[in-house]
Amino acid sequence: MPSKRRIAVTGIGPVTPVGIGIDPFWDSIRAGRSGAGHVTQFDTTGFAVNIAAEVKDFNIADFIEPRRSRRMELFTQFAFAASKMALEHAGLNPSDPDPVRVGVVIGSGVGGLRLIEDDTMNLNTKGPRSVAPDLIARMMANSASGAVAIEFGFQGPNEATVTACAASGNAMARAIDHIRNGNADIVVTGGTETPITPLGLAAFCAARALSKRNDDPEHASRPFDANRDGFLLAEGSTVLVFEAWDVAEARGANILAEVLGYGLSADAHHLVMPQPEGVGAAACMHMALADAQLTPGDVGYISAHGTATSLGDAAETKAIRKVFGDSPPPTSSTKSMTGHLLGAAGSTAAAATIMALVDQTLPPTTNYETPDPACDLDVVPNQARPAKLEAAIINTFGFGGHNATIAFGKA
């Protein structure tokens, strides 16, 4: 088998509840700061849950002139801002590379939910002629990847993956393929999500998926803790620049980490609940290790999906033990701080993991108080930890039974 084209990560752009831009983001993760609070975007009277992790102080006008952003819904604005910061972090002038050699793959679970809600209201109260002419263009989940390409002129492969909370994992896997297969030299990839809307919050409440710690939002997200009671809904986007290693080296780029490989699988079990033995998740991690040519012993850190649901964390623990045996590596969930960014969860975890490799520091699982025998892992409780780290994986799993694992190595 011919050797695979090597891939570098050269830029990271986070727009997250714990910070906008790589430095504020990583400072927060290292310090264990929470992005949680009470929902400010609409009146939550009557909602069983009124907490979430919102992006603070975001203004699209800081990133693009208002005229150019008129057709960008918030999820697209987040993705554009994240892409712009990632390109800047990569030291890449968007007009320098051959535009057909630059692709964009940005996933989203849903797309512009808030606009659909508003125009459904218009339809029902004022009739069909009141529906916005640009509704389709703005709401569609691929609007983000399209808009990023339009604004930067990137004419390479352009896609949006829609696999719920695995969306940005699937996106990164596609990006890897595009570079390995020679379809592109650079792929701007990640995920974006804006689920904190009246319908979004009501729906996740109805599904009984969310933590109900309304009086204590910062301690609501408790992955792997015995007293976890569901996930904390979050919004944001994290976009990464994946670049063929030879291309990055040739332009003298600062290489942050190496993208080693990916695994993808399906639980084939249930649309919402994880397979309780973690069979699908274990297959996914096995595939990623094989693709990355890593042995379990090579992996020094796992960034868990770890959303803080009762079933999910226990199933992921079983999956990790299936793959890593009796001594799994330290495993933490940054969702304890960021909340669950759904379609942007995988790329946000990847950002923290890449920085862990750069900084040789493991992100903590905050809010960890009471060990759960069903989650008997070293969760890096409450404090970031220095570590000698050569390789790490991130897990991201979605409703529908989608699983994605991406492996990264020290540059």
Binding site: E65, R67, S69, R70, K126, R129, S130, A132, P133
Partner: protein, 84 residues
């Protein structure tokens, strides 16, 4: 009954507030597409806002020949009070 001036004001408001067009560039003679950078979806957005405000309806055919703000104002203000 609304005057033509009120229709012009409403058109300008939508151009600036919703479509983020620079107010300084908006004149009655400005070409909506070439000078103000609108596309067909933008034009529909502007017309819809006026339709709703003044309770009128304009057909796609009637809009086909509209290229300036002044022409749009003529067309729309002529409708006000006639097909509400």
């Amino acid at each position: 009954m609304a005057t033509r001036d009120e229709v012009v004001t409403s058109l300008k408001e939508t151009l600036v507030d919703r479509l983020k067009v620079d107010a300084a560039t908006i004149t009655e003679d400005a070409n909506l597409f070439e000078d103000l950078g609108l596309d067909s979806i933008d034009l529909m957005t502007v017309v819809m806002a006026v339709e709703e405000k003044f309770a009128i309806e304009v057909s796609d055919e009637e809009l086909e020949d509209v290229t300036t703000l002044g022409q749009a104002a003529d067309l729309l203000s002529a409708k006000v009070g006639t097909n509400a």
